[in-house]
Symmetry: C2
Subunit: 375 residues, 2 copies
């Protein structure tokens, strides 16, 4: 049987690689950033706009969609892509991260995670089997095995117990799987401990997953440690399957992680920052709230080709943001997602031409700067 998703590596440059991830909903150029659409919508964006910017895969959250509107409804309406009116592929996170981020509401046991719904307090049990069942009903292209996203900081003994639970859940996930038209990825944990990362990676990659993710990073640990653990984990992931670094990150994080050989990323940063008035530009990050933009007729980024930069001045965007207009969230989100899409396209092209190191050096001085830190 053919694998439901398949990575075609077209070129490598050091550990970095570019190619195409073939999914039931079409090909996704890699390395790929996936905009986050937790509730089956990328906040402030229409699906057609994501497509026009160049995105071919988005992320949604199985836990959130299980609570509302329910997986059976989405199945009956043709699966999550059809439900959203989205032509591309969808990856769903299982809800393991919500087990940590909504921690007051749940208890983790061998069987799974006992939640109370964040909406109405109704008791729910999320197990490796039910997480699979939900994702199979959602009809996403890529399902994630239920894991425990180990919190930070954590003692080594607790981190080991956690990754072993994740490993047992991974095996149960594979046994529970009935759909072979949807891919299933396993998740490496191990917190910030090199030996535990190695142990988890060996365990998870010994199982028959279609791809592998590095989880449990960007949860509060220092940046250097995040990058070290991401690199270490990547070194254990097989070259012939897609590698996904979950929840990362800033433009500079993406550039670093691509160099480690990761193919897929997701992060709320471009969309959430946009709604908070922060824009990514080729010269660094700007806060549209800042008074120095009040009468500035220039676009957010004079080197950007997005619709926002073609249509609106910084002055107008600042006015929209201060006035609480929805158009502010729309325009900044579209700009930031365009910025990320452009970054990934440049990375793909640089890898193909063997110039990825040069690209990273040329961008390093610009993208990470905070230009409007003081208001």
């Amino acid at each position: 049987m053919d694998a439901p998703v398949k990575l075609e590596v077209l070129a490598t440059d050091g550990a970095a690689r570019c190619g195409r991830l073939l999914t039931p909903h079409g090909a996704v150029p890699t390395p790929a950033f996936m905009p986050v659409g937790t509730q089956a919508a990328v906040k402030a964006m229409a699906p057609g706009e994501l497509w026009d910017i160049g995105y071919r895969m988005v992320l949604a959250n199985a836990y959130h969609l299980a609570v509302r509107p329910g997986p059976a409804l989405i199945r009956d309406l043709g699966g999550i892509a059809a439900f959203m009116g989205w032509r591309g592929a969808v990856l769903t996170d299982s809800g393991g991260f919500q087990a940590m981020s909504l921690a007051a509401l749940n208890r983790i046991r061998e069987e799974g995670i006992r939640f109370r719904s964040h909406l109405d307090g109704a008791p729910m049990l999320l197990t490796p089997e039910s997480a699979l069942d939900i994702q199979q009903m959602l009809g996403c292209d890529i399902m994630m095995a239920l894991d425990e996203c180990t919190p930070y900081p954590v003692q080594p003994a607790d981190a080991r117990r956690s990754l072993e639970l994740t490993a047992r859940w991974a095996e149960r996930s594979l046994r529970a799987r009935t759909s072979h038209s949807q891919a299933l990825f396993g998740i490496v944990q191990g917190s910030v401990y090199a030996d535990l990362r190695a142990a988890s990676a060996r365990q998870i990659t010994s199982l028959g997953f279609d791809g592998f993710a590095t989880g449990g990073l960007s949860v509060g640990e220092p940046k250097a440690l995040m990058l070290e653990m991401a690199a270490l984990s990547a070194s254990f992931l097989p070259a012939d399957k897609p590698r996904y670094l979950m929840g990362v990150g800033t433009p500079e994080d993406l550039l670093a992680a691509i160099a480690m050989g990761y193919d897929m990323f997701d992060c709320v940063l471009p969309t959430r920052n946009a709604r908070n008035g922060c824009a990514f530009t080729s010269a660094g990050r700007i806060s549209i709230k800042h008074s120095r933009h009040a009468a500035d007729s220039r676009p957010l980024d004079e080197r950007c080709g997005c619709r926002t930069c073609a249509s609106y001045s910084r002055s107008y965007l600042r006015h929209l943001f201060r006035a609480g207009e929805i158009l502010a969230a729309r325009a900044l989100t579209e700009h930031n997602l365009y910025f990320y899409a452009s970054l990934l396209r440049r990375a793909q092209a640089a890898i193909a031409s063997g110039t990825y190191g040069q690209l990273c050096r040329s961008l390093a001085s610009g993208v990470a700067q905070e230009l409007d830190e003081t208001e």
Copy 2:
């Protein structure tokens, strides 16, 4: 000197007429509905989307823009249309209506209206002269003379005092005008009293305005009285100048007012209702919150040609609305504005072909119904 705006009447059908309003920012087909963009943005919409739906003129509010971001800033950025990235025409209301709707914050005197800014409490004085000055700085195509929007209910003696103040302010507005590249409209008041409406209309139309508006309606009076006063006021407005019925209304109100000979309308209904989950359809109004839409794969209106109806099911829209997603406001607003634009286009075509009465009868049974009144 040519008038800054000119109405070309192309056809009449009874009192109804269709044509084109020629403005400094292009021709606007009439009868025209103007989406409300109080703060220089039509809530949830991008200017290019309004254009694509067929709108050629929007409304903004001089008072709101005077408070934030300030008229000098907008002037320095090229005027309100350029500031918004809008290719069409803009009409600004003066702030007279805010004198009523933000009444706790102001006092009306002969000189003008003493406000406290609704944002920071700063004292402001809006006079006929300063309202003109602000609108001239904004660079809108059509300015409105400052009026007192008489509240409802009101005693006849108070309504008379109010309309006479409005008349004196109208004369001061014309004397204060320095820009003759922007049109200036006068406003008829008189509450619900036929003799006062007639007196106000005679006073205002005797002055050298470029167009005339009927104000002070849709402020709480019974619907039949609103229509009676709108018709009476219209009968006094000269045929060779544009007639604008302010703040009206529902689709059925627009059909009735077009039959009276009005050319221009504005109302928050299509945009505000959209954000509250209410959609206009050819069969009547629906509330997308209603549980009967939960698993409905049909569009809002199977006879609608808008992007929302081409892209999203009622089920998905209901999910978006309940999840608080910005896309719900976007999709419903675009649909409702498309519905209004289509209605106006059909009215224009029917007037041109002498079938306006038939159009009104054919639509009457559908559009006014509330289909989901109980939840």
